[in-house]
Symmetry: C2
Subunit: 516 residues, 2 copies
Amino acid sequence: MASGKNTGWLTPVELTPPSLEDNTADVDRLLAALEARLGHGVDVPLELMRTIPAELREAAYRVRCVLARDRRRWQLTGIAGVAGGRRLIGAAVDLGTTQVVLRLIDLDTSVTLGEHAFENPQARVGPDILARIHHADSAEGLGEQQALIAEGLNQALASACKQQGIDTSSVALLAVAGNTTMGHLLLGLPPRWIVREPYIPAVNSPGLVSAAELGIRAAEGAAVFTFPNVGSYFGGDLIAGILSAGLDESEEPAVLVDVGTNAEVVLGNRDWLVGCAGAAGPALEAGAAEIGMLAGQGVIDKVWWETASGKLAYRTIGGGRPKGICGSGLIDLAAALFRSGMIDLRGRLVKSACKGRCREVDGERELVLVPAQDSASGEDLVIDERGLTSLKKAKAAMFAILETLTASVGLKPEQVGTFSVGGSFGSVIDPESAITIGMLPDLPRDRFRVLGNSSLEGATRLVQDAGLLERIYAIRDRITYMELNVNEQFMNRFSGAQFFPHTDPERFPSVKTQVV
Amino acid sequence: MASGKNTGWLTPVELTPPSLEDNTADVDRLLAALEARLGHGVDVPLELMRTIPAELREAAYRVRCVLARDRRRWQLTGIAGVAGGRRLIGAAVDLGTTQVVLRLIDLDTSVTLGEHAFENPQARVGPDILARIHHADSAEGLGEQQALIAEGLNQALASACKQQGIDTSSVALLAVAGNTTMGHLLLGLPPRWIVREPYIPAVNSPGLVSAAELGIRAAEGAAVFTFPNVGSYFGGDLIAGILSAGLDESEEPAVLVDVGTNAEVVLGNRDWLVGCAGAAGPALEAGAAEIGMLAGQGVIDKVWWETASGKLAYRTIGGGRPKGICGSGLIDLAAALFRSGMIDLRGRLVKSACKGRCREVDGERELVLVPAQDSASGEDLVIDERGLTSLKKAKAAMFAILETLTASVGLKPEQVGTFSVGGSFGSVIDPESAITIGMLPDLPRDRFRVLGNSSLEGATRLVQDAGLLERIYAIRDRITYMELNVNEQFMNRFSGAQFFPHTDPERFPSVKTQVV
């Protein structure tokens, strides 16, 4: 493992200018100084070799160097003058299947500058991981998806940089956390064998890769660091989440729950880590509920039951008329419907309790959350029983995974110290709601810590502190991955959890239905 | 320095195929096996990460790996199956200012396969180093020259491969030896400061660079190794020459002389090396003499004086009517003219001795070497006094450099054990002729060893034996470079050598003029 004293990515160097008596070549001169200071070798990409001679002269031989690294090596990925030199910027990227978020960080000050979220443009070729893997079976399909995400990142970089008055040529480093398949598609690696037994990724630790080689327009020599994967179903996004939640430094057993297309759970402490992931379906990520969408301007991210008025209330991001509802809003909504008795244990709408809000279309019941006159589209925003069913399956998967994982190490959920709850659909989950629907166990509320986008947060931390690289690889190496597909106990637990909150209500003593 | 036990570039590896119990990713699996065997890390370029999954499966997990390396790191640059896998080929390249020669070598057997020589296509933008550096002052000019040489190499690779029934996608490694400027232009590095005081190259040890990044079409992941330079006027071609001549392993002091656009001389033994280069002008490389050209079909490469018939005789490469004369032929010609008394001590044509061969055009004398009826063009092949003068300057520079260099370490030329004489214009120099004109010192003839293209030979050796890398860098680090531009003794010696054979004929006792 590459290691050193600096925790930042930037190393300032002052060189003796060349002379007839000291005619060492420019790049060799810079490397000799860096290596003398760091005590180990540094690689220089060709792109930078091409610009270093002019940079050094322009900066009067006093430069700031961006030194990126991975498990194997150190690499110079950017250079600028000390006095009056341009800013040097890093970008943290949460590379989601549905949504991608990019955040700019000043490498000199570690200050977060701006952020830009966008829909993963690969959605054009397939909504989910399986469809994209299938589409990548041909070299053209793989190349197309690689180009799509590179261009998406280019536009996000350009947009975020423009807002901050920075040129994209200042961006010397990108730290990308994504699931294994998204990581493969960004790097143009064939994801074919990820979904075929015995489920083998092309690479788990790709490390530093040239941004230019990926078609990403940034500084000359800029590199992309991809968070390492544990395996096909346990990606770098989760490693970033563990880092951000500090699970690997916890004294008592702690849990990280990440709610997205997959229900991903990690349990562990500073001595051991065990992880597990199961398909939760796209219920919480825009898919199943017809009104579901990613968090954003005009999207409902919070729903609650106003006992006094007997009304369903909601909050829209940025205010204004709602156009849809995001994952956290859906969990709130299901919880509110259940508490108010508008849905029963099985998640079916109870006509009498719903009063005027419930109607039947083509033999299927649906509930009007926002009537046409109040919505952005001028049409009713409704949730139907199909949407409620996929939500129920998603929450059941999450709970069953949690139970199976804790049981696998001989623990009960109540023996877990802290539950960190993250969601990668862009808004924060209310643990109270998640407990009400039986997604999370019914434990004292102070044990729950709400994280936002834990994967983005982990990537951000790395850009702020290069010293975390060692921890990232240590996390990766320490995790034991539990395969669920062949786990019978999991299937039983999954069935038992297909109720609101659970087949066995005594496990959720604090959850009470209040029939309206 | 990367080091290991293998002297070849190829390492065969047999992997345990992945299973549900052992689901390490493909690239990680291969690297773990390589690193366990080699005891150090190996880098994998992205291009290869993309192909390794399919390659491994196709080869049933038994592969031959090309492991290239430079001073800092080891890198996988090619992979093929053990059984029935495609051939893995390396290419040695002598990257001359005027001529480029590419040679294919089988990496499995180290056997030389084929060779292809071509004019450096950068000649289109400028005939010599200075013109090309000037043309590279703009980014477009540099890019244009980079693309020209890359395309030249592509065509040569394609042509040499085709002749051998090999696909260019088998070529996993190129070892390139060229002067500092040619190396810069191939890599797209700005050569601007090479010719500006204090004469600083961009890079002296570029090491391994991606072939694809240079626009060279070869195997996925193929790398180009550029022989390191000592400085602006002492390039990798000379390091390759030293390697090929074995100067760095010689017990007694030995000399390597490389005659080309520059007169380059290295003196040393296994303990020390001192080198020096001076502009010899293009006299021997096609330039000054109007009939001068690179060795090739129909070019005169040997000239001698037939005492019996009193005639100038010559040999044409491949036979047939001559179209011009190359460097070795010019040296022979001058020697023959001097021995026969057709030129005097100053290199002027002696009308009486030349008999019918000499004529005057526009007040300048010229000698007809091949009359119109015998030449390929149907025109007289002539050498004029201007051509003889530049030849004289070139030989004087060489001799003065030799004298200055030996004197600098307190030796006389006669104390040198072996003189290895190489020429980069494609044909071999006859030491007898070179002594006659005073280019080389008048020493027992068994001290002279004639090399062909010593730079190509050095590059070939490296492709045949990866273990030579350590020696190459050791040679580079050990050489003391002597700057001639500011050396007064050199200027005096240069003046003294502007005669055939020398101002002081007693220094050339064996050289006798025989007036015809």
